[in-house]
């Protein structure tokens, strides 16, 4: 019994001389919400189009539920597809749009009616069946597109940046709804996005793509906490990335000498044999002690001067110079102005070794 819904086996795709996807291996287990995340041009949409069947891979193989999809046209793959621009049929009512897939398969009328009703209920649009798409808001249109894609009960739902055309508030609300819909249907979702927050909020697993290949994959929190490359550390969330000059085994981890400075950071990253070129520290993992440091419970301690100060409401972002060429961004909880260091004042920064993530490049 194969529990993988979709498998890509060393899939490559080139358009002319441009290699858009290189030797990609990917397994998507049944029922998971998997995001393909990356900047534009990373090959994520091409990968989705290959799964959907609109592009044939230049080499390699795509399997859906164990069956090779070579030569299978999109209309015979039984995959649901949701587009960024909704792509609703303007000359059909909402109900006709949602029932289209089943109608093309020659499903009996009563059955179509039942499926349309239940799909519209899933996206909270019961009672909208008789309207035309033009009469609906962007958010409602995207729900209709979702209902249309799930009505024929596809094995997998492919979503291509479905929330990108919506405004921020609606986008955040739709994230929650999409996640609930996923739970309710138990269907495999493959979600393409360039928005890391979106991917974080919904995914069981994130596949970070860069330059046509997988940069890293894993559950959202492990990708956030343990990025393995500079690109991932930089793309997912915010981070301070420091170049490492040399490194050596220290007590229970690694000692990293930061290039161009006297600073040595202790990291709990353990493997001294693996290449270490840089390290990353999330701004919220740096804590702040004004003036002299009170205690010695943290192992990394850096003295610095506050250069910049940005009030973000719930948080305050500080830029602290710790060496001539090194400044760290620090995110601290907002508190009354009198308790925060002024620009130009000396501060001591404390960093837990577990929060110093070593990067391979």
């Amino acid at each position: 019994m194969n529990t993988m819904d979709i498998e890509l086996v060393s899939v490559s795709k080139s358009f002319g001389s441009v290699n858009v996807v290189r030797d990609l291996d990917l397994q998507i287990p049944r029922g998971q919400f998997v995001s393909l995340l990356g900047p534009s041009g990373c090959g994520k949409t091409t990968t989705l189009n290959m799964i959907a069947g609109f592009h044939a891979p230049s080499s390699g193989e795509i399997r859906v539920r164990g069956k090779s999809q070579r030569g299978v046209p999109p209309e015979r793959r039984n995959l649901g597809l949701v587009f960024q621009n909704y792509a609703l049929f303007p000359h059909m009512t909402v109900a006709e749009n949602v029932g289209f897939g089943l109608r093309m398969r020659g499903t009996p009328r009563e059955e179509i009616h039942r499926a349309v009703e239940s799909s519209l209920r899933s996206v909270h649009l019961d009672g909208f069946g008789d309207r035309y798409p033009k009469a609906l808001s962007g958010g409602q249109q995207q729900r209709v597109a979702l209902a249309r894609a799930i009505a024929p009960q596809p094995s997998v739902l492919l979503l291509d940046e479905p929330l990108s055309n919506l405004d921020l508030k609606l986008r955040e609300a739709m994230r929650v709804e999409l996640k609930e819909l996923h739970r309710e249907l138990g269907m495999t979702f493959v979600y393409v996005t360039h928005d890391q927050e979106e991917a974080m909020a919904m995914s069981d697993r994130i596949v970070v793509m860069w330059q046509g290949d997988i940069a890293q994959q894993g559950d959202p929190i492990s990708i956030y906490r343990n990025p393995r490359t500079r690109f991932v550390a930089d793309f997912i969330g915010r981070s301070n990335i420091l170049s490492v000059g040399s490194h050596s085994a220290g007590s229970g981890g690694l000692d990293l000498s930061i290039a161009g400075t006297q600073i040595v950071l202790h990291s709990s990253g353990s493997d001294a044999a693996a290449p270490v070129r840089s390290c990353c520290i999330r701004p919220e993992n740096i804590s702040l002690h004004s003036g002299t440091s009170p205690d010695g419970c943290r192992q990394n301690r850096l003295d610095g001067t506050v250069r910049r100060f940005v009030q973000l409401g719930a948080h305050v972002e500080l830029l602290v110079d710790v060496a001539s060429a090194v400044a760290l961004t620090v995110l601290v909880r907002s508190s009354p102005a009198s308790l925060l260091p002024a620009i130009g004042s000396a501060v001591t920064l404390a960093i837990d070794p577990r929060d110093v993530q070593v990067l391979a490049d």
């Binding site: 959907a52 609109f54 046209p73 999109p74 209309e75 015979r76 793959r77 039984n78 995959l79 649901g80 597809l81 587009f83 621009n85 792509a87 609703l88 049929f89 303007p90 000359h91 289209f100 897939g101 093309m104 398969r105 033009k134 597109a145 249309r148 894609a149 024929p152 492919l158």
Partner: protein, 267 residues
């Protein structure tokens, strides 16, 4: 000064209306005059000339024109859709050359074309196609550029993600053509077909070479009649065919709602 532009605007509109509407009014008045010569603004009114139209001399050319025009609209509609689909949507190799060939009849004088068709048919020994088959074929060649152009424009505006959405929902190519592409380009195609109908129904320069003696289209029957007499029957024929054309346009518009498209609006 600020009043001058609106004045010029209304003057221009007035002149255009005068040139288009007044002659029609004259014809209409003449067709209702009891005198047997054409007179403007008769002192009495009668419908007797319209009654005189209900004879085989006029009825049979009228029906021939209607039959030919309907066939031309239908054939050029189907051909135009297929051509536009292949050239614009599928972008087959040589698309622009083929489109050029389809549009080329626009640049050849109709008289030349008419002579050419008659010569061609007699050289290859197909003179017996003269009459209805030759009329339909020639009019289709004449109307096809309009229908193809309009279908091509409609297709160029067609959002191809709709096609992909339908495909992902399991629709075969034939189903997508039937349920998605055709309904979306219907207004454009129907307005092209209206043009085709009118082009065929009004045609003289081509038809004059292709009709068989004694079995002519309405415009040719009018020409033949004019050779002998300029009487109110002529006016009555003209008014009748004008009303008929208006009815055809109205009918096509009811089916396709293309005036909305022509005016840039939406349903």
């Amino acid at each position: 000064m600020t009043k001058l532009l609106p004045c010029l605007f209304w003057l221009a509109i007035g002149l255009v209306l005068a040139f288009i509407v007044l002659p029609i009014a004259v014809v209409l008045a003449a067709s209702l005059s009891p005198a047997s010569t054409v007179t403007f603004w008769p002192s009495e009114w009668t419908f007797k000339w319209y009654g005189a139209l209900v004879t085989d001399k006029w009825i049979s050319p009228f029906w021939l024109s209607v039959r030919v025009a309907l066939a031309v609209a239908a054939i050029s509609g189907v051909l135009g859709i297929l051509a536009a689909y292949a050239l614009v949507y599928q972008k087959i190799p040589g698309a622009s050359a083929i489109m050029g060939a389809i549009l080329s009849p626009l640049s050849v004088p109709q008289i030349v074309k008419g002579v050419a068709i008659v010569l061609f048919l007699s050289i290859v020994g197909l003179q017996n196609l003269l009459g209805t088959p030759a009329l339909i074929a020639a009019h289709v060649v004449l109307a096809l550029p309009f229908v193809t152009r309009m279908a091509a424009t409609a297709l160029a505006n067609f959002d191809s993600s709709l096609d992909r959405a339908a495909q992902s929902l399991g629709a075969t190519q034939r189903q997508r053509l039937q349920h998605i592409v055709l309904p979306m380009i219907k207004p454009g195609v129907l307005s092209g077909m209206t043009f085709a109908f009118i082009i065929s129904f009004n045609n003289i320069p081509l038809s004059v070479f292709l009709v068989r003696p004694g079995d002519t289209t309405l415009p040719i029957a009018v020409i033949n009649h004019l050779e002998y007499s300029l009487d109110p029957v002529m006016a009555a024929v003209n008014v009748t065919s004008m009303v008929f054309i208006l009815m055809v346009i109205f009918l096509f518009e009811r089916i396709g709602g293309f005036s909305a498209q022509l005016h840039g609006g939406s349903k």
